[in-house]
């Protein structure tokens, strides 16, 4: 079985959402959900755990709530 060379995009997004949420002082997934076009806290939880192949509209809502552009959101990802 080939070794996976890097984390998948869903996990990278999950870690980035959690990192930015905590950096913004948004304490709970529920609060972020409220800020992001009223997404449900369980959905935010699945995103942060890398379980969701998120749509671009929902990701845009989350990044707006986090106060970053999509380009800024993806900047640390370093993939090609």
């Amino acid at each position: 079985m080939p070794k996976q060379s890097s984390k998948d995009i869903k996990s990278l997004i999950g870690e980035r959402v959690r990192e930015l949420r905590e950096a913004r002082g948004i304490a709970s997934q529920e609060k972020l959900g409220e800020l992001a076009s009223d997404l449900h806290r369980t959905f935010i939880g699945r995103v942060e755990r890398g379980e969701t192949n998120i749509s671009i509209e929902n990701l845009e809502a989350i990044t707006k709530a986090l106060g970053v552009s999509l380009a800024e959101f993806f900047k640390p990802f370093n993939q090609k």
Copy 2:
């Protein structure tokens, strides 16, 4: 009815995919689809017309085929 202040994310993505596809000299949507984890040409067509709330995994496949990172892909979008 409030005037829409900017194009929606689906349209922005569609224009950017088409722009990069043409800049890369990938003549057809079919060819891009083959390069992008075998996505169907009709799917690429819907993406380029801004009709698809694309998932991040499919968008990642397309950006890889176009040879840009997600951060580079979103750089011109200028949203917050």
